[in-house]
């Protein structure tokens, strides 16, 4: 295993925690990958903001139906039991607390559960999509992310410096180095790569990593 998990491996790890029959929304980009790695025997029902519940994976290239897409505008397929609905009903599912889990990407996650994932500041074009609704609606809001930015700065921080997506909303983070819960305004380390010491992990994390009981090894297959 390399020094950190690949994006695919982070997605795999997060997928192991999705319960059978759970209703789950996967954010655009990396989170979309999670669907591929559900453990055998488990079948979550995936929701997409643009009005589909219970869709299946991407069709082969050339067989796309561009009226059958997910929130990332990628083509998906039907499964038995799929339902279509309009955007207000779709966000009733989100805001009304009907989803079991939302899995989102992040620029920063703070130890108080704040999430920043929509804007890198006043330059450029801001785009929020459904993230601000998802963070307040799903029963569990989970983040998957690299542990640090490309230039090595912590993405898990004491307080977010970037514009917030939501306040106190994230309860678990799967990173390229660790699995971390957010409880009582603190990061609680649950799993870390075996090759890394707690001190090394702390050094690339922007707020204190608490430990309750044992910290398990973060074990992910080669993918």
């Amino acid at each position: 295993m390399s020094a950190k998990l690949s994006a695919t491996q982070i997605a795999w790890r997060a997928a192991q925690e999705i319960a059978d029959d759970a209703y789950v929304n996967l954010g655009i980009g990396l989170p979309e990958m999670v669907a591929r790695f559900q453990p055998p025997g488990r079948q979550a029902i995936f929701h997409t903001e643009n009005g589909i519940l219970g869709f299946g994976e991407a069709p082969p290239a050339g067989e796309e139906d561009w009226d059958l897409i997910n929130a990332g505008k990628k083509a998906v397929t039907l499964l038995p039991g799929t339902a279509f609905f309009h955007h207000a009903d779709s966000f009733a599912m989100v805001r009304g607390g009907h989803l079991d889990m939302a899995i989102l990407g992040a620029f920063e996650v703070a130890e108080n559960g704040d999430l920043a994932n929509w804007s890198t500041g006043p330059k450029g074009v801001p785009a929020v999509g459904g993230a601000m609704d998802l963070v307040h609606g799903a029963k569990q809001v989970v983040v998957i992310t690299e542990h640090t930015t490309k230039d090595g700065k912590p993405k898990l921080v004491k307080r977010c410096s970037l514009p917030l997506t939501g306040v106190g909303c994230v309860t678990r983070v799967y990173t390229s180095l660790a699995v971390i819960d957010i409880q009582g305004g603190r990061f609680i380390l649950r799993e870390k790569l075996a090759a890394m010491s707690l001190e090394e992990l702390q050094a690339v994390t922007g707020a204190e990593l608490g430990v309750h009981g044992t910290v398990a090894d973060l074990v992910v297959p080669e993918l």
Partner: protein, 244 residues
């Protein structure tokens, strides 16, 4: 995933004393009579559930369904828009005797409050009831020169709903105007229990024709040939049956 339950007894087994229950239907159309009768059976056998708050458009008709529940003394409070019917005596007598509480809500506000409960909207403004006694004590605000009343969402512990087809994942269709409050109540309850005329396999209902997606449904039970309240009342039925 399989949300079906084998019997009506299973369907109503978890309903607790003091619960808030939304019961679908507009008058008799869309009213889950068999499920309500199963709940009455349980009450007669065990003494529970009682002290219920019921949300329904009406207050029952004759001596079956919701009227029979009220007649048994299971209902402490009713939230409805129109507590009148061809034969409203069961409710009327208890109400005038002070034995049941009534929260009267304009019908559109009732529908919107239930939808808001299901959609995570804690409050909204409506023109309905502005300047009337049904708005007393409620915040009022002006938008674009018109006055509106603020109303709160309405949620429930349980929804008892009648649908037409239901697949094992809880996707539902309804029959004609029996749709009414049923899809909204599915959204607004912690536990939504649906009696359907037929349970079908996932994929049987065209995804374009699903009215209530399964995410809003916790349990489905088949009642193959459901009675119509109107027919029962024309036959002067009572539940439970009384000796002639």
């Amino acid at each position: 995933m399989n949300k079906t339950l084998p019997t009506l007894q299973d369907a109503v087994a978890g309903i607790t004393d003091g619960a808030t229950i939304m019961i679908g239907g507009f008058g008799g159309s869309g009213a889950p009579i068999e499920m309500v009768h199963a709940l009455i059976d349980r009450f007669l056998q065990t003494g529970a559930p009682k002290n219920l708050t019921v949300v329904n458009n009406n207050a029952g008709n004759g001596h079956v369904g919701l009227a029979a529940m009220i007649e048994q003394g299971m209902v402490a409070k009713l939230i409805c828009s129109f507590p009148r019917s061809a034969d409203p005596r069961v409710f009327t007598e208890r109400y005038l005797a002070g034995k049941i509480e009534l929260e009267l809500v304009p019908q559109g506000t009732l529908a919107e409050r239930i939808r808001a409960g299901g959609a995570g909207i804690p409050a909204f403004y409506t023109p309905a009831s502005f300047g009337t006694e049904l708005a007393e004590g409620k915040p009022v605000e002006e938008f674009d020169g018109r006055s509106y009343v603020r109303e709160r969402w309405l949620k429930a512990d349980f929804a008892l709903v009648k649908a037409h087809l239901g697949d094992t994942m809880g996707n539902l269709t309804f029959n004609k105007a029996a749709r009414n409050f049923n899809p909204l109540m599915c959204m607004a309850a912690t536990t939504t229990i649906v009696q359907v005329s037929q349970v079908v396999e996932p994929g049987t209902i065209d995804p374009e024709h699903v009215v209530t997606p399964g995410i809003f449904v916790q349990a489905v039970v088949e009642v193959a040939n459901p009675a119509q309240e109107e027919d029962l009342n024309r036959a002067n039925a009572h539940y439970p049956e009384v000796a002639a």
